[in-house]
């Protein structure tokens, strides 16, 4: 009986002493294997008197179970330890840079365009399109700028022939849309696109630039509606809390016409270098669609009215991002393009 106890204690000790899984396997063989110590104890049972056999057998079984349980437990422990050691060996330098999986960029002008599009799509506007090589008729005549009108000076034009030109403003698209509508209201659209004027390129002038105009025609559309709409736009584009200021101006296709200032987003209207101390930044031109324009396009100016506005995308981008030279947009230096890797 003591022998059993002796073997069990010896086995348990060996189990605890096994420092890795290999050593443990040797212990298992030594005690639980076919030729192991515990199996050998069973062999000794033969020589015992019959009546002692059951008790002895039971004791050996208990011993076997306990040794087995201890082995299993030690096995788990050592496995855990082995995994931990392996993982430790796999340690990496997490400070090394990640894979350079770069996304591309959208051109800042297009980003501004899309921002304005999304803003107005959300208000039920559609996006109009039209040709850049345009007829004088749509660019000027229908926009209430007949030949020899002084306002043609305001936008010196790239003519191709006497009737064809590179559009000087996206108003040409408005005129096409008005004509297409054949007097039917409501009309709610914006028309973004490239436009061209005979300007020498410098830090603030470009012979090619982008505009986005908006047009709403319906019953009882008011100048106050224009103000509300532009206020909404300014708040979305330059941050909440922006105020709008109208100043009288002149465009041949609107009456009344206004220049629109937005309260300076950089100093909150207190006055800074961006707004030249005035607290306001001129941002766009707008007005009520001229009744003659409505009539030329087949609308009854007694029954309906409308507003229109136009914003220069370069101007917005330059203000928003503090860009000081308009030529950057067309040089496309990658270092410049990569600054605009997200919407802001």
């Amino acid at each position: 009986m003591d022998k059993i106890k002796e073997v069990q204690e010896e086995a348990l000790r060996a189990i605890q002493e096994a420092s890795d899984l290999d050593a443990l396997l040797q212990v298992r063989i030594r005690y639980l294997g076919k030729k192991g110590s515990i199996q050998a104890l069973m062999g000794e049972m033969k020589s015992l008197p019959k009546e002692e056999k059951p008790a002895f057998g039971q004791k050996v079984n208990t011993c076997k179970q306990e040794v087995t349980a201890a082995l299993e437990e030690r096995q788990k422990e050592l496995q855990k330890k082995a995994v931990a050691e392996r993982l430790e060996k796999e340690k990496i330098d997490i400070t090394l840079s990640g894979d350079r999986l770069t996304l591309g960029t959208t051109h800042p002008l297009i980003m501004i365009q899309q921002e304005i599009e999304d803003l107005f799509l959300g208000m039920g506007y559609k996006i109009a399109e039209g040709p850049e090589v345009e007829q004088d008729f749509y660019n000027f005549e229908l926009a209430n700028i007949p030949k020899d009108h002084p306002a043609r000076d305001m936008q010196d034009t790239f003519y191709i022939d006497p009737n064809t030109l590179l559009r000087t403003h996206t108003t040409a698209m408005q005129m096409r849309e008005l004509e297409k509508a054949k007097g039917e209201t409501p009309i709610k659209l914006i028309c973004p696109g490239k436009v061209y004027r005979r300007d020498d390129d410098d830090a603030t002038h470009s012979h090619q630039f982008m505009q986005c105009e908006g047009l709403v025609v319906g019953e009882h559309i008011t100048l106050a509606d224009l103000k509300g709409t532009l206020e909404f736009m300014a708040n979305r584009m330059f941050g909440e809390g922006r105020k709008i200021r109208f100043r009288p101006s002149y465009f041949p296709f609107t009456e009344p016409s206004v220049e629109v200032d937005v309260s300076c987003p950089f100093c909150n209207g207190k006055g800074c270098s961006v707004c030249k101390g005035s607290g306001w930044i001129e941002i766009l031109g707008a007005g009520m669609v001229h009744p003659h324009v409505l009539e030329m396009n087949g609308f009854d100016s007694e029954k309906c009215s409308g507003f229109a506005f136009g914003v220069g995308l370069e101007r917005v981008a330059m203000l928003k991002y503090g860009i000081d030279d308009i030529r950057n947009f067309y040089i496309n230096d990658v270092r410049f393009l990569k600054m605009f890797d997200r919407f802001d």
């Binding site: 350079r100 106050a224 509606d225 103000k227 509300g228 947009f329």
Partner: protein, 799 residues
């Protein structure tokens, strides 16, 4: 325009309104004041006299003076002066110590050891515009007249420089305000103050019956007014008139010429005064059917063409109407009698002629912007008054006239309701009527209706909306509420094409490409080297430069130029795309250009290098087409047979959608790349219109595979020229429906492979939708495939 504050005060009481306040109010009302310039600036100035003047002992150009500014002993100052014209007895402008001048504060300290208390001034040192000063005035101190009052502290008042000039930017519809009288009315309406015009209108009727005849043979001169003045005395103009002309940026010539200019500035009517004695006949006829060369004042010849309005007298042309008079009949110091011309010429015609002849005279510019019909009479009447007063004029003949008098005032009716409706305001009738009254619109109210009598100079007021604009701009835009349009709901939605354009940008961005926007206008060279250009390139009628002469017919050169710029600025791996329209005479087309110069993705640390090669481009285009729902069997990649000038003949391909060519992609031809200093560069230019308008397949669910797939790898040896696609086609057909997928994973040429051959390793995946494939099924399919490969392509299974 340059607006003299002092001159304005002649018509409107400006008491209590500073130039700055006036400028602010005008800007708010739509007459934008862009600058406020005092004619001269400086404090602590006084008129003095140089009593003594000697050379500075330590300088070769400085003088030391004793200058007195009064009669008492303490009124004598020692002042050092550097001007060469400084001398004893000269009356001068003295800036006393502490004086604030544009250049700084005047001190009281020795100059090279000599005491100096103050400064003797030149006018430009007092901020007077150098353009209006003579060379002598620019070279030294101002020399005041001998009778200048010593001790006078209002120096600017004495000099007529006590004025402030507002630089007003007039919108084209308010050309009327370039006439002082009309500007005064506008200011009166802004300030709610009375405006007084000189009371001279009845002077138009002065004079006795004469013989001078005027006629117009063209509708481009609808009215012509003239008047003979039998006697004038040419001499200097009064000082105030010189001052006002100077304020307006004009030089004084003599009293008669000055009056013609002054009256033009007042009334807006360009006038021409003829030396009556030099007119060959007492007759003027306006014509527009003359073709000739005309020599102008400075000997330059001008081509007069049919359609130009010409003034003739006695059958001979004497001037280009509204633009320039003839030299013969110019007013000079000997002129004794004159003929006044005040006519109305078609603005469009004057504009065209003056631009063509590059004669942008003051008169031409005023005619080109439109002159109001009543201005002729105002100008003649005012001329009579001023000539009599300042040029001893007499012997007036009756005003002669031809054409139609168009002086009927316009009536415009508006209702308060419509006005408030358009503006979105709630103005009262009193507010609106008050505003219109100050504009001299003489509003008559009847219930809701307002009848306005529009003064003739307000040619811009034609419709109710014009009245509404006057109301809101003068009451003030700050009273305008903010609302949103109240109308039936509309759906805001992008068109399919607009949506797909954004999809294109998303795909390009996800592959790391940067979007560029380049100029539409390009050079002849770019047009000559365009890629698949639209036919008949469009040239500008009047380009600004050779570099911007044509509207581009393809994108390639603009895009490569952009890569060239970036490479030159040490930016590497330049992978860009641009979406833009290109043009030919008969049509436009939207294109997508993609350029890969370097790697799409590169990371040496982690061993990543996605080179921007032919296959990268093909992958990008495939991904784009898949995203458009156009992938699969509709897309064909064929050998590039259309353009091997821009493209490498063996590393480029045409891409088709069905039977429509989308474009070409591949490596640039090294010769072409070299033009832009580029190395291996891959480019694609694709017709986006075809993609945006193509009908995409619908997204459709198919059941997931339930039975296992089995893959078999093979390596076959084929002719080097055999395209991989051909091998895949054979396998697909031979494998019937059991081949689920194929993937080429290696191409090998060289050792152990015969000359002119290549080894293609590929993996074939077998799978059936309805049962687990048995070994013999797979084996028989596989062998059928190998047999077909052998039969069709002479492919040997590699051992």
């Amino acid at each position: 325009m340059k607006l003299s504050y002092k001159w304005l005060s002649e018509y409107v009481d400006m008491n209590g309104i500073t130039p700055q306040e006036l400028a602010d109010k005008m800007t708010t009302a739509g007459l934008e004041v862009e600058g406020i310039e005092p004619m001269a600036q400086g404090t602590n100035l006084v008129i003095g006299e140089v009593m003594e003047c000697w050379n500075h002992p330590d300088s070769d150009h400085l003088h030391v003076t004793k200058t007195r500014i009064g009669d008492k002993p303490e009124d004598v100052y020692q002042i050092v002066c550097g001007a060469p014209n400084c001398r004893k007895g000269l009356k001068v402008i003295v800036a006393l110590p502490g004086a604030e001048l544009p250049g700084g504060t005047i001190g009281n300290k020795p100059v090279r050891g000599q005491d100096s208390s103050g400064m003797l001034c030149a006018l430009f040192e007092l901020g007077v515009d150098k353009k209006v000063l003579s060379e002598a005035q620019l070279a030294g101190i101002e020399e005041l007249p001998a009778d200048a009052p010593v001790g006078e502290r209002d120096v600017f008042g004495y000099l007529g420089l006590d004025d402030t000039i507002l630089d007003v930017s007039l919108t084209p519809n308010r050309a009327d305000c370039s006439a002082m009288w009309n500007m005064a009315k506008e200011v009166g309406a802004i300030l709610h103050r009375e405006v007084k015009w000189p009371d001279c209108m009845d002077r138009i009727n002065d004079g006795t019956e004469g013989t001078f005849k005027v006629a117009s043979e063209t509708e481009k001169c609808p009215a012509f007014t003239g008047k003979v003045v039998g006697h004038v005395k040419v001499g200097p103009s009064p000082k105030w008139m010189k001052d006002y002309l100077q304020a307006a940026g004009m030089n004084s010539i003599n009293n008669v010429v000055d009056i013609s200019n002054f009256v033009m500035l007042e009334t807006g009517q360009p006038l021409h005064f003829y030396n009556l004695a030099k007119l060959p006949a007492h007759e003027i006829t306006v014509r527009d059917d003359i073709e000739m060369k005309m020599t102008a004042l400075d000997g330059v010849e001008f081509d007069i063409k049919k359609g130009d309005i010409v003034i003739t007298t006695g059958g001979e042309p004497t001037g280009i109407a509204g633009i320039m008079g003839g030299e013969e009949s110019m007013i000079d110091e000997n002129t004794e009698a004159i003929f006044i011309e005040a006519a109305n010429f078609d603005y469009a015609s004057v504009r065209r002629t003056s631009i063509r002849l590059n004669l942008l005279t003051e008169a031409a510019q005023r005619f080109a912007k439109g002159v109001e019909p009543m201005a002729m009479e105002k100008a003649v009447a005012r001329s009579v008054e001023l000539l009599e007063k300042y040029a001893d004029a007499s012997g007036f003949e009756k005003t002669v006239f031809c054409g139609a008098k168009n002086t009927e005032e316009r009536i415009v009716k508006e209702t308060l309701t419509h006005c408030n409706d358009l503006l979105g305001t709630q103005f009262t009738m009193d507010q609106v009527a008050e505003t219109l009254k100050w504009l001299d619109f003489r509003p008559e109210i009847s219930g809701d209706e307002i009848t306005c009598h529009i003064p003739t100079y307000r040619t811009d007021i034609e419709r109710p909306a014009d009245i509404d604009e006057e109301v809101i701009r003068l009451i003030g835009f700050d009273t305008l509420p903010s609302t949103l349009p109240y109308m039936s709901a509309t759906v805001g939605r992008m068109s399919a094409a607009q949506n797909l354009r954004r999809v294109t940008r998303d795909v390009m961005m996800s592959f790391g490409l940067n979007e560029i926007v380049t100029y539409t206008l390009v050079s002849q060279e770019y047009i000559d080297n365009a890629f698949l250009p639209l036919e008949n390139p469009i040239a500008l009628a009047m380009p600004m430069s050779e570099a911007r002469k044509y509207i581009r017919s393809s994108l390639i050169n603009s895009v490569l130029e952009c890569v060239q710029y970036n490479e030159a600025h040490q930016n590497t791996d330049n992978c860009f795309y641009e979406i833009s329209k290109v043009y030919g005479k008969d049509r436009e087309e939207e294109r997508l250009a993609v350029v890969l110069a370097g790697s799409l993705m590169k990371d040496r640390l982690h061993g990543i290098d996605t080179k921007g090669d032919f296959y990268a481009m093909k992958g990008i285009l495939n991904a784009l087409l898949d995203r458009f729902g156009l992938g699969g069997t509709r897309v064909h990649i064929n050998e590039n047979k259309i353009d091997t000038v821009h493209f490498h003949p063996y590393r480029s391909a045409e891409i088709f959608l069905g039977n429509q060519r989308l474009g070409v992609f591949g490596e640039l031809h090294p010769d072409y790349a070299e033009r832009f200093d580029l190395k291996r560069t891959v480019y694609a230019e694709i017709n986006l219109d075809l993609l945006l308008s193509a009908k995409a397949s619908h997204v459709k669910f198919t059941a997931l595979d339930r039975y296992p797939a089995v893959s078999r790898d093979i390596a076959i040896v084929v002719e080097r020229e055999t395209p991989a696609q051909k091998i895949l086609d054979v396998i697909r057909r031979a494998g019937k429906k059991l081949v689920r997928n194929m993937e080429v994973f290696d191409i090998y040429e060289g050792e152990h492979i015969g000359e002119g051959k290549k080894s293609v390793a590929l993996s074939i995946t077998y799978q059936a939708p309805d049962h687990t494939l048995k070994d013999d099924e797979i084996t028989s399919a596989h062998e059928a495939i190998l047999n077909e490969l052998k039969k069709q392509l002479n492919a040997e299974l590699r051992g």
